[in-house]
C-alpha cells in the first residue's frame, strides 16, 4: 500500500513551492514517516523553523507549527520546550539558517542538550535569498556572491554539533531516502538534543552554477560521496578522501536541560 502522507499535510497545500528535484520534499516525506513511526500526536508536537527554503517545511505540516525569524528557530524552539516540556519539539532549517545566521543559537542548543530534534537540510547554499554562499558551500564552489570560487573552508555540521555537545548526531542524504525516516525516528526517541543533517541538493541556485547538468547528476553525487559508518571503519584514509559518513555518528547519555532546569526551580522554591 502506498504511504498515506496526506493525513499529515495541511489540506490544499500541495504542490509545494520547492523547485523541481529539490531534496527538501524527500526529507519532508522522511520526517513524516518518522513522526508517524514514533506515534507523535498533532497537538503535542511543535515543528519550528526560521527562514529559508527548508524553513517553509512546517507550513505544509498539519501540526503545531512556528515560522520564526532568520536563524532563530532554535531559540524559539527552546522557549517552546521550556514552557511545555511535555511537547515534542522538532526544528527544521537549512545550512545557512542553522549554522551561519543562527549559528550561535545552534551551538548553544547543542551545548544545553535540550530535548529537541534539529533537522538540518544541508543543500550547501542560501537558496531562497538568491544563491549566496553559506558556511557549507564547498571550497572553490561558485555561488552568486562567490562568482570566482568560494575561498572559505567548509563547516562539517555533524562535527560542529558533536563538538558543541549534542548528544545524538546523525547524517543522511536525500538520495538514501529510506534511511532518512530511521535516522529522524532515532533522533526523536533520543532524550537530549538530536541533530540530523540531511545532505541535500539545490539544482536551481547551486547545481547550475557548479556544472551539474541536472538534478539527477546532483543525486548521483550524493550517492557517490556517502559512506555508511560501518563501511567506513574498514576503509583507508585515502579511500575516504572526499567522502562523507552517513548513519548515526554520535550518541551518548547526558543530563537534559529541561530536567536540570526543573531542579533549579525546585531548589529555588525550597530556598
Amino acid at each position: 500500500m502506498a504511504y498515506d502522507y496526506a493525513k499529515h499535510i495541511r489540506p490544499g497545500k500541495l504542490p509545494h513551492i520547492w523547485c523541481p528535484g529539490c531534496g527538501h520534499g524527500i526529507a519532508m516525506k522522511g520526517m513524516i514517516r518518522a513522526i508517524d513511526a514514533c506515534g507523535l500526536e498533532k497537538n503535542n508536537t511543535a515543528i519550528v523553523s526560521g527562514i529559508g527554503c527548508a524553513s517553509r517545511l512546517p507550513g505544509y505540516m498539519d501540526y503545531c507549527t512556528l515560522h520564526t525569524a532568520h536563524g532563530r528557530a532554535a531559540a524559539f524552539a527552546t522557549g517552546v520546550k521550556m514552557a511545555r516540556p511535555e511537547m515534542n519539539v522538532i526544528v527544521v532549517g537549512g545550512d545557512g539558517d542553522g549554522t551561519a545566521i543562527g549559528g550561535n543559537h545552534f551551538i548553544h542548543a547543542c551545548r544545553r542538550n535540550i530535548d529537541m530534534t534539529y533537522i538540518i537540510l544541508n543543500n550547501s547554499i542560501y537558496g531562497m535569498t538568491g544563491g549566496q554562499f553559506s558556511p557549507c558551500t564547498p571550497t572553490g564552489a561558485k555561488a552568486s556572491t562567490t562568482v570566482y570560487g568560494n575561498p572559505d573552508p567548509t563547516f562539517d555540521i555533524s562535527k560542529l554539533a558533536i563538538g558543541a555537545g549534542a548528544s545524538f548526531v546523525a547524517r543522511g542524504t536525500a538520495f538514501h531516502a529510506a534511511q532518512i525516516d530511521k535516522l529522524i525516528a532515532e533522533g526523536i526517541k533520543h532524550k537530549g538534543l538530536a541533530v540530523i543533517e540531511i545532505l541535500d541538493d539545490c539544482p536551481t541556485t547551486y547545481g547550475r552554477r557548479n556544472k551539474f547538468r541536472s538534478v539527477v547528476d546532483m543525486m548521483k553525487r550524493l550517492k557517490e560521496i556517502a559512506v555508511p559508518v560501518a563501511a567506513a571503519a574498514k576503509m583507508t584514509a585515502e579511500q575516504l578522501e572526499g567522502k562523507v559518513l552517513t548513519g548515526i555518528l554520535h550518541q551518548e547519555n547526558k543530563p537534559e536541560y529541561c530536567e536540570q532546569y526543573a531542579q533549579v526551580i525546585a531548589r529555588a522554591k525550597c530556598a
Binding site: 502506498a2 500541495l14 504542490p15
Partner: protein, 65 residues
C-alpha cells in the same frame, strides 16, 4: 514477462518533471513524457518503492498488488 507487483499512480498536478524517479528506477518502469513522468512498462515493476520514496513532490503512489 511476469505480472506486475504494483500499480503506480502518478499525480500529474504535483509532478514537476525532475526525472529522479525515472532515472533511478531499477527496472526502467518509468519514463519522462515532456515534463511529466509516465508509467511506460508497468509489467516490469517489482514494487521496490524507490520512486515513491524519492519523489520530492508527493506525485507518485505505489500500490502493491
Amino acid at each position: 514477462m511476469s505480472s506486475p507487483k504494483a500499480k503506480i499512480e502518478v499525480i500529474e498536478r504535483y509532478c514537476k518533471g525532475c526525472a529522479i524517479c525515472a532515472e533511478f528506477c531499477p527496472t526502467n518502469v518509468l519514463e519522462m513524457d515532456a515534463f511529466v513522468v509516465k508509467v511506460a512498462r508497468p509489467e516490469a515493476c517489482t514494487a521496490c518503492m524507490q520512486c515513491e520514496l524519492r519523489c520530492p513532490d508527493f506525485a507518485i503512489e505505489v500500490h502493491k498488488l
